[in-house]
Symmetry: C2
């Protein structure tokens, strides 16, 4: 006797069929014999697997396995790449993806999740805002995997990047090219990803000059203003570490108008990073791996929260290799 | 007596309530009084408005008004901007968006539409591939609006850009800066958008040198090879017109490796267009207007195919203003 909720894998084992077959039956897909359908229905009943919902689905015939993807902003390249990767990973399981953006407003994030839940979406991949997520706990039928950031106030499956290592790699790379005055440009430090990237930077530097540490800037235009302000200091930075793609783009914007040629390393690859001259050196990771891990956790739920960490690497293209 | 299908607006008129209220009732949204629900249900019955489906929805309680968005590739900036704009336009009607990419493979486009249809999506916004779309006609319950390109073999509502004018504007701008040898870099000329942009180019030039007209290149890397090949001609072009954002990016890539400094104008704005030095001059349009028009046509269906043309304008940033 175990307290954990029965999973689709349990149903498959009980019925003596594959996980894929269970998914087909639950989603009312074609190409399943009546005999197999009966076996799976019996297993679902016996185990009490999401009983009402699965039964309702079977009764209705065909409905979709739909994954809700809740993220900050689909037009930011990180999110559009993630959406594409999740779509591809979901397609392998014949699932559709519903997506929504919350624009870094926790109340809109909650509204999106509630609305998806009310409309029958039972699997969620969420890039959480910095707001508390305790309200999620009352949606007992909702399988949720968080991606990119730890959700405050919620113990769930989560897929994170090795942000700490990324921050350290970027900063050590700049140190190795002779830089000592390295500025940090980052956004909301309450996000675990930003926090960990900043911690990696601090660990590599030892004692950063706090006047060179910038938090809370979100859009490229604000970043470019901060970069200009730092370059105007009596003792300006000779290098920058940008903790996301928007910060890197803000640095590029600022340098268009400035004579200085500081080094810089970004976090998050972007399509045009190679096209600039010099190319933009970045901390990179495999976004398909994030998506596959998240979809994999969703389709094989467990009673205990699990954590997957996706590795990062430094890609050298020129902007981080300018000397001090 | 009219042959056209009754619309939600007809239901609203018959019931004496707003369109918004009808949408709320059909979608099982809260905050509708029992009296209003009855009125709307009666109107739906009387008019035979999507009878079975609406009735089924009302019986089931709450389900979603879901718009399927079928496009080439969510990670291409044109599509991620479009997705964001459609999401925002749909949210005004409390609708969700399901999206899918077909990667310019007509058979995958059809599979996506069939799968969305089978799963209950009844409203589609499609950026069509160059394949024939006659198969769509048999899905009688499926309200479809095409966007960006005319679908071959299908008479439907469509939202297009003023592509012809865009092609002419870009080319005339380069002519005004003294260029005579202007190359065209474009992808699949069977797409109405590409065809019309190329036609605008031809009309402005009069008699283009056909050796400078390149069709059928899709990714930036192939574009950069074509640009290099053209620049190596004995009589090379002094300017380029790129019919989409990927072509513009391919030109930027090629010029990183080359000493020549030709002028160029792109079609489609992109986030980093201003960050390059010089900035990339482009033909631009309001993508929110495309999305609003498409959602508006979906929610107010008509018996006759309608066409909306969204205007374009030239944005001058430097790359198109280099002299011959």
């Amino acid at each position: 006797m175990t307290a954990r909720k029965p999973t689709m894998a349990d149903v498959a084992r009980y019925a003596g069929v594959s996980l894929k077959t269970v998914s087909r039956v639950v989603n009312g897909e074609p190409h399943v014999s009546a005999e197999v359908q009966l076996k799976v229905s019996a297993a679902i009943s016996a185990l009490g697997f999401r009983r009402n919902e699965a039964a309702a689905r079977l009764a209705r015939g065909a409905t979709m396995l739909t994954i809700g993807l809740v993220m900050e902003n689909i037009s930011n390249e990180f999110y559009s790449r993630l959406a594409k990767a999740v779509e591809a990973a979901a397609a392998e399981h014949e699932a559709l993806v519903v997506f929504g953006s919350y624009e870094e407003r926790p109340e809109r994030e909650r509204m999106l999740v509630e609305s998806m839940y009310a409309r029958g979406v039972d699997s969620l991949i969420v890039v959480p805002s910095s707001g508390d997520h305790a309200w999620l706990a009352r949606h007992t039928g909702l399988t949720t995997v968080f991606v990119d950031r730890l959700p405050p106030g919620q113990d769930s499956d989560v897929v994170l990047l090795d942000d700490l290592k990324g921050g350290r790699l970027a900063t050590e790379h700049l140190l190795a090219h002779g830089h000592r005055r390295i500025a940090l440009i980052s956004d909301d430090v309450r996000l675990s990803s930003v926090h960990d990237r900043a911690t990696g930077y601090r660990e590599a530097l030892g004692t950063p000059d706090e006047r060179l540490v910038v938090h809370g800037v979100f859009d490229p235009w604000r970043v470019s203003q901060e970069v200009a302000r730092l370059l105007d200091l009596a003792d300006p930075p000779t290098a920058f570490f940008a903790t996301n793609n928007r910060a890197a783009i803000g640095i590029l914007q600022a340098l268009r108008e400035r004579p200085e040629r500081p080094a810089y390393v970004g976090f998050d690859d972007f399509a045009l990073a190679e096209v600039f001259n010099p190319g933009v050196s970045v901390v990179r990771y495999d976004i398909d791996r994030i998506a596959h891990s998240a979809v994999g956790l969703l389709l094989d739920p467990s009673g205990r929260p699990r954590r997957v960490t996706v590795p990062v690497e430094l890609v050298v293209r020129g902007s981080g290799e300018r000397g001090a």
